[in-house]
Structure formats: C-alpha cells, structure tokens
C-alpha cells in the first residue's frame, strides 16, 4: 500500500503484503510451527487469498473466508443441478416438459412450452457459467426465481388474463408508500 505524504510516496506494508516471519515465499504452504509463531499474518492473508497449510502428518489443508467456501459449495451444487437438468432435457427435448419436468430440480417447468424451456435451458447454462466467473450466484438465483414466479402466474389463468389485458390509462392513479409513521406504528 502506498501513502502520499507531502508529495512523497511512502510504502506502508499492509498485513497482507507483510512478509512471513519465517522468510518463506508467499506461495509456500504454512507449517505448524510457523503458524504458532505467525498466525496473525496467516489469518490476514487468508482473508485475501486462500492459504495452504501442510500439517505434520502430510495432509494439505486450506484456510479461506467462509464467504468464499460457501460460494464454492453453492456453486458446486448449482453446477450439479444444471448438469442434471441438461441430461434430462437432452433426453426428452421432443416430449412436452410436463412429462419430464418432475425429474429435474425445476418441476415448475411443466407450465412452459417446449420453446420456453429451450430458452430457459440456454439461460441456465449461460447464468451458471457467468456465476462461476463473477463469483456470485445472485443473478442466476434471481433468474430461476423469475422463471418459477412466471410458472406460478401461468397456473392462475385469471391473473394471467388480467396482466395481459390492455390498460385503460384514464383509470390509473399515482400511488404512494406507507409513511414512516405507519411503518413505526406497525413495528410497535
């Protein structure tokens, strides 16, 4: 980290940039003795990049933030779900989705036509790849929720008709939110 003081750049080492007390390179696994002496550096570095630890029994371990570990676990589950869907879809793509959707993690696909499921499949693959690259599942999960919600509306013909019917612009009204006072009163 560089800090500018009176026009001069002074290098101030952060915990992550600080060298290891043992003098080992940044990529070398940490040993048990080194951890005992320099655990603070290990933990600070693990917040930036996963750190490898070589235990005395020869087992290699990794220390990383819970957020990274959790993302990897969820991504792995999602990749498995996507693969399972694709296998089922490829096997049955000539058959109406209602006959095979229950075999996937997305049974609500039964509400859609073959063309719509083809679009879903394309988005699912793209979104899964995108999630792995961007390090977040938010868009993928949001899109799955959007498809699931759409299926829910398809299941309500009256709601579907109401949504798709033309709007009489003469009848629309500007609406406002509940006031903060109303929110507080409800919380009390």
């Amino acid at each position: 980290m560089a800090r500018a003081i009176a026009g001069k750049r002074i290098l101030v080492p952060t915990s992550a940039a600080r060298g290891r007390a043992s003098g080992r390179s940044a990529d070398a696994p940490w040993g048990p003795t080194e951890i005992q002496r320099d655990y603070r550096t290990l933990l600070d570095r693990a917040k930036d990049v996963p750190q490898e630890v070589l235990d005395s029994d020869g087992e290699l371990l990794v220390i990383q933030t819970k957020g990274v570990a959790e993302f990897q676990r969820r991504l792995q589950a999602q990749v498995a779900e996507t693969a399972r869907f694709l296998a089922t879809y490829n096997e049955h793509r000539e058959i109406p989705p209602s006959e095979w959707a229950m075999q996937t993690a997305y049974p609500w696909l039964a509400a859609f036509s073959g063309d719509e499921v083809e679009e879903f499949a394309s988005e699912l693959v793209g979104d899964t790849f995108d999630a792995a690259q961007r390090g977040t599942l938010e868009h993928l999960e949001g899109n799955l929720r959007a498809w699931a919600s759409t299926a829910g509306v398809y299941g309500q013909p009256d709601a579907m008709r109401a949504l798709l019917s033309p709007v009489d612009l003469e009848g629309i009204i500007e609406v406002l939110p509940p006031s903060e006072g109303q929110v507080r009163a409800a919380q009390a």
Binding site: R145, V167, L169, I172
Partner: protein, 103 residues
C-alpha cells in the same frame, strides 16, 4: 381520470412516480404490510428496471417478458411494467397474494 393521492405524513420522493391500475389492492397491501410495502415503493421508484435479476426483484419470463415482479414478502407480490410514455414510467398492474409455492 388520473388523480394524485398523498401519504398521511411526508411522501418519499423517488426518481420515478409510481402509477397503479389496482389502487384498492395496493392500499390493502400498504395497510397490512407497511414496512415491506415502503421498501417495495422505494425500489420501484428508484430502481424499477434493474439490469440483473435478483431474488426479490426480477423480470418475469416467457409470455410475461416485459413485466417485472417485486416480492413484497413471502405472501405478497407486486407486478408492474413500463408505462406508455415519459410521464408514466412505472405502472403497477398487480398487487396481491403470491401464487401457490413454486419455488
């Protein structure tokens, strides 16, 4: 006929006004769920058409492309679309219960 109504105390000034075809249903949700509906309104007024899908706020798919949904809470949904002109940007066309569980 279009008419403007006011909140009991102080209105939130978002980037966009929010218009509605289902005024009674909107008000009913506001009475029953004031906190979540205030958050919903703020989201619709400030960020009605997000570029990325999110769990709570997303663009519907299939035949409903062009409609957006905001999940007020587990039991209520608001659905809306882009209005026809520069005056009406956010047009709510549904405010009511969530469909039976599809998630």
């Amino acid at each position: 006929m279009t008419r403007e109504v006011y909140a009991p105390k102080g209105r939130y000034s978002g980037s966009h006004k929010v218009y509605c075809t289902v005024y009674r249903e909107w008000n009913k949700l506001c009475q029953n769920r004031p906190g979540p509906m205030r958050r919903c309104y703020i989201e619709l007024a400030d960020n009605p058409f997000p570029s990325l899908q999110a769990n709570r706020h997303h663009q519907l798919r299939g035949k409903l492309k062009g409609f957006w949904e905001y999940e007020v809470d587990s039991g209520a949904r608001v659905r809306y679309k882009r209005g026809p002109d520069d005056r009406v940007i956010v047009l709510v066309v549904y405010a009511g219960p969530a469909p039976s569980d599809t998630h």
